[in-house]
Symmetry: C2
């Protein structure tokens, strides 16, 4: 298809498509004339991926380019995970994080194989530091439940990646899953809080809750 | 203590404390003279809470005020949950979300009591819509694992709240847990991904992983 069709099918302005090409987020088309190029479904798919990363995932153009380059590279998948994680995480300086908070995160993750500079380890420690500062002590294993849930989700993430046929699909899922998975979990957690709250305190529940049902076949 | 001491103990500039008071985020102290007031540990605790909400949770001043007002109110706890959820969630217009994506979220949450306008339900549907657009189909129950994990975390959230002694501590934990819980889970998920990835692909693991250990007693 031509650029105009690619723009129409992807619902993306031509100026945006050209911007993605200049920023190396999207490969150029196959030249068919001095001012024409041909695009195919791989371009369409890539445009949607870039928009998902930037618009829904909130990534900067530079961060989106880093993960796109990781997808297109021959990096082992575990390194692609690392690039995706670093691109979508605030990078914290370990020296700025309280040693006690780091020790508590490591205790919650006891037995896990995790690098000292894993961005998630540092981010979780920084959250525990804030809980400390506001005087919140975890007496009853609240945070351990988060770690169990995180392990459940990480297993499902890897299962999904393992089941895909080729490296590109795997790498794309690593990236998309890292970026969109946070948003999916946070949404489902809010819905689950309403559900558990409605079960425990039915009388005080403010909204007319409804039990969700599977869609009709 | 006086304002200067409150500033020193909380490591917060006097100008910031006065700003919090003007914005109704912090109650004024007990007057002890024409230009003096006395502050106590409740003020210190509140300053740390406000800073946690704004600095770590990324809330706007208006959103922080809404959740502080919910803590100080006599609202039933379930409504405090609702205020916290709405304050820290992007509020999406249900009309703008694909009906198919909403139906799929409801299928994932089958049997949950959730209001149609729960911000998490809408946010999760919007994520599924993006997965659709980039051509990602969930064949193997990937998202169902997220829902199970979200339920696990929501149960732990409510257990923690239930165990606290008074309404103010409960309400504060609802708010703090909603804001900081997302950040804690997302950090632990990244660490768990590295752990599961290291177990499954030991040879390709890029970093010298280490097994985290509980801190020494």
């Amino acid at each position: 298809m031509k650029m105009a069709q690619l723009s129409a099918v992807s619902d993306t302005p031509i100026a945006t498509i050209k911007f993605y090409q200049r920023e190396n987020l999207l490969p150029v088309g196959e030249r068919t004339g001095p001012n024409q190029a041909r695009y195919d479904s791989t371009h369409l798919r890539r445009i949607r991926l870039v928009r998902g990363l930037i618009d829904v995932g909130g990534l900067s153009v530079a961060a989106a380019r880093a993960v796109i380059e990781a997808i297109d590279s021959e990096l082992p998948l575990s390194e692609t995970f690392g690039v995706a994680q670093r691109s979508v995480s605030d990078l914290l300086d370990p020296a700025g994080i309280d040693a006690g908070a780091l020790a508590r995160v490591d205790a919650i993750m006891a037995g896990w194989c995790v690098s000292a500079d894993n961005p998630g380890r540092l981010a979780a420690a920084s959250v525990l530091e804030t809980f400390d500062e506001i005087g919140h002590v975890d007496h009853r294993g609240w945070f351990a439940a988060y770690a169990s849930a995180a392990l459940l989700v990480a297993e499902a993430d890897l299962d999904e990646v393992d089941a895909l046929p080729d490296r590109e699909a795997k790498a794309e899922t690593v990236v998309v899953g890292t970026v969109l998975g946070d948003a999916l979990f946070s949404g489902l957690r809010r819905a689950a809080q309403e559900h558990v709250s409605a079960l425990r305190y039915p009388a005080t529940h403010p909204n007319p809750a409804r039990v969700t049902e599977p869609p009709e076949e």
